[in-house]
Amino acid sequence: MRIALFITCFNDTMFPRTGRAVTELLERLGHTVEFPQGQTCCGQMHFNTGYRPETLPMVRRFAEVFAGYDAVVAPSGSCAGMVRDHHRVVAAQYGDAALAEAVEHVVPTVYELSELLVDVLGVTDVGAYFPHRVTYHPTCHSLRMLRVGDRPLSLLRAVKGIDLVELPAAESCCGFGGTFALKNADVSNAMLADKMRHVQDTGAEFLCAGDNSCLTHIGGGLSRLRTGVGTMHLAEILASTEGDVR
């Protein structure tokens, strides 16, 4: 299958290792991965902060750059959710008929990583090896916008050597929320404190999620408290093999 990687602007800049992991993983499963260099951002930050007209160029660019692939994969539930739920809205509000049609074509090909693996490629055991205690945080947009359900967990359960432990109050928001963390910093911190406590209660060595943005927020807090708990994107655990030592 010819799969385009939509890395997302945040991963591209901050966590290229997640993109490398997605690439390794999909190639290991026998697929062709391409990286359209014209890609930038899904426009979520602008859209969710109320800067809606500014989102249009990014929607336009996305529809152009990612047209014509068998599938587009994003290692982010949040950005995949933005494309799936809101690109049509922006196109209808500010765009032209041609854009609306282009968006209509591209949107059904866009998947979050766990959806692509389980639903499209039909695998849950990706042949990974990760001998650590891991707990999984289902990020809000994966959970409630995309409804990925237990796809990430079934992928993690199939990882060799993993000790997967349940996160208490897993479905409660970590408090990141994009610009919410700046605009309502105090509430964000209160939510973060609870999430960190739950993570620590599991005794996990790594916190795993499908969104590096939430992980940056939680991981940044865990690091400040010197908890020793690391964060890992789902893709990185799934890409790990016996040769890797973390």
Binding site: I7, Y51, R52, G177, A190, R224
Partner: protein, 499 residues
């Protein structure tokens, strides 16, 4: 007086500041966590009992949206049916109008006190204060509203207005204030729930037996029969709705349902969503007046107060489907930490964040649409499927547009967004900024992490370390390691040919 004067508590700081104060109150946070957690779990359990829960939600959403599309028609039908049943219908365009009507109706009875059934609509218009200005004392009879009224406080939850109070606080309030308003609390009052309830019962009973006029809200009104409905848990409402001679009901125009039979759906959804009960203990239904049974005079005040304007907004209008169950408050992680007062509005929580700016005008509640992480828990919990995150984001755009209109110079946020838009509009510019950021951040970092950050990011970096941007972005890595063909530069043309 405009809608904003009442729906919004003037003088309350914007949400982020009010939230900071609430977060510092450890007792408040403990009370909230316990209360919302309990109701949340009960709601999930009783909703799961119904196999057709999702169908019920869908039915309720459909009925509400259908009704709102022809609201004028259903309201006229309601007026006709209420009048035919011996009631009198009044139309109020705003809060001042409604207060004037109710005050005149009470004055006409010659009474100077009224008993009240818990009602959001009368909170919204500030009726108690307006009655007080006219020399009429309004007694709240709902237990939680009584606690709020005696405490000189404001409600902090739609269903449980005193959710922010613990039982020892309630005991203090009863001991201190009950005597001022009527029968005092017993000297040896304990903070046991049973004793507190008994003190309230005795205090209230005097008022029920004396009252000649009652004021209520309405949960529903059926347009075909003219039947008005109130659901409640304590029986206080039932006392107010049956004992007095005159009953004045103030109802938001969005509460009308086309038919009595529609109650079938809502009376299953509301108690399960709000209190986590299969059925609420008291459901009172009344249709006009009946000789020898209940109030002899019935007035229905139909309140607009911003609702028609809300109806005109295609995305925002869905907030009018709200049945005030407060399920969204109980699942909201933001509400759970801050409580209702931080919203500075009669309607707190997620529904308040979308309803208040619409009823009162975005300029009067501009911080509320941003008081959410958009986690979506409210949408999942809503029994009438109001897509609260969708409306929040829609109103954020309105808030930004309103700021743009009002200012000649853009805000620092607008400038930042513009700059970010320029960078993200071009892969070349993005690549340049990535290189600069990676270099710049290394100057700030220690051990690969960034500590304190300047400007608006200081609030972020106060509690979190930030990783340094990668030395090599993914796009740079790809260019360096992968053959040119896999860059997908010509995918547009290629892709279209392929399809």
């Amino acid at each position: 007086m405009s809608a904003a004067d009442n729906v919004v508590w003037l003088g309350t700081p914007a949400f982020p500041e009010a939230a900071r104060a609430a977060l510092a109150d450890t007792r408040l946070r403990a009370n909230l966590r316990r209360a919302t957690g309990t109701i949340r779990d009960k709601r999930l359990a009783v909703a799961a009992e119904l196999e057709d829960w999702e169908e019920l939600r869908e039915a309720a959403a459909t009925i509400k949206r259908r009704t709102l599309r022809h609201l004028d028609h259903h309201l006229l039908r309601l007026e006709k049916a209420v009048t035919a049943a011996g009631g009198v219908v009044h139309w109020a365009s705003d809060a001042a109008d409604a207060n004037r009507i109710v005050t005149a109706l009470v004055k006409a009875t010659g009474e100077d006190e009224v008993v009240k059934v818990k009602s959001m609509a009368t909170q919204e218009i500030g009726l108690n204060e307006a009655l007080a200005d006219a020399g009429i004392r309004a007694y709240e009879t709902d237990l939680a509203e009584l606690i709020v009224q005696l405490g000189g406080d404001r409600p902090s939850h739609i269903l449980v207005p005193a959710i922010h109070r613990g039982r020892s606080e309630i005991r203090e309030i009863f001991r201190r204030e009950m005597g001022e308003w009527g029968r005092p609390a017993p000297e040896d009052l304990s903070d046991e729930p049973r004793d507190l309830a008994e003190a309230a019962r005795l205090h209230l009973r005097e008022k029920f037996l004396r009252a000649k006029v009652a004021v209520s809200g309405a949960n529903f009104a059926a347009a075909d029969t003219g039947t008005v409905a109130v659901v409640e848990s304590e029986g206080n409402g039932r006392m107010c709705l049956t004992l007095p001679e005159t009953l004045i009901t103030v109802m938001g125009i969005e509460k009308v349902l086309p038919a009595f039979a529609d109650l079938d759906v809502f009376l299953q959804l509301l108690p399960r969503s709000s209190t986590g009960e299969r059925m609420n203990p008291y459901t009172s239904l009344w249709t006009g007046v009946t000789e020898g049974d209940g109030p002899r005079n019935f007035h229905l005040v139909l309140l607009d107060n911003g609702r028609t304007a809300t109806l005109a907004d295609e995305v925002g209008r869905q907030a009018l489907a709200c049945i005030r169950c407060s399920a969204c408050l109980n699942v909201c992680p933001v509400y759970e930490r801050t409580g209702g007062h931080a919203y500075g509005s009669v309607y707190p929580g997620p529904i308040g964040a979308v309803l208040t700016p619409q009823l009162a005008g975005i300029e009067n509640a501009a911080s509320l649409p941003f008081a959410s992480t958009l986690c979506g828990a409210c949408y999942d919990a809503c029994p009438v499927k109001i897509n609260i995150p969708e409306v929040l984001v829609h109103l954020r755009a309105e808030a930004v547009e309103a700021k743009r209109r009002d200012r000649l110079l853009p805000t620092s946020e607008a400038l930042a967004m513009k700059a970010a838009g320029a960078v993200l509009g071009s892969p070349r510019r993005l690549a340049t900024v990535q290189r600069l950021a990676a270099t710049g951040a290394r100057l700030l970092a220690r051990d690969g992490l960034i500590g304190a950050l300047p400007g608006p990011f200081a609030r972020w970096s106060g509690t979190r370390d930030t990783p340094v941007p990668a030395r090599e972005s993914l796009r740079a890595w790809w260019r360096r390691t992968r053959p040119a063909g896999s860059e997908g530069r010509s995918t547009t043309a290629e892709g279209k040919g392929r399809r």
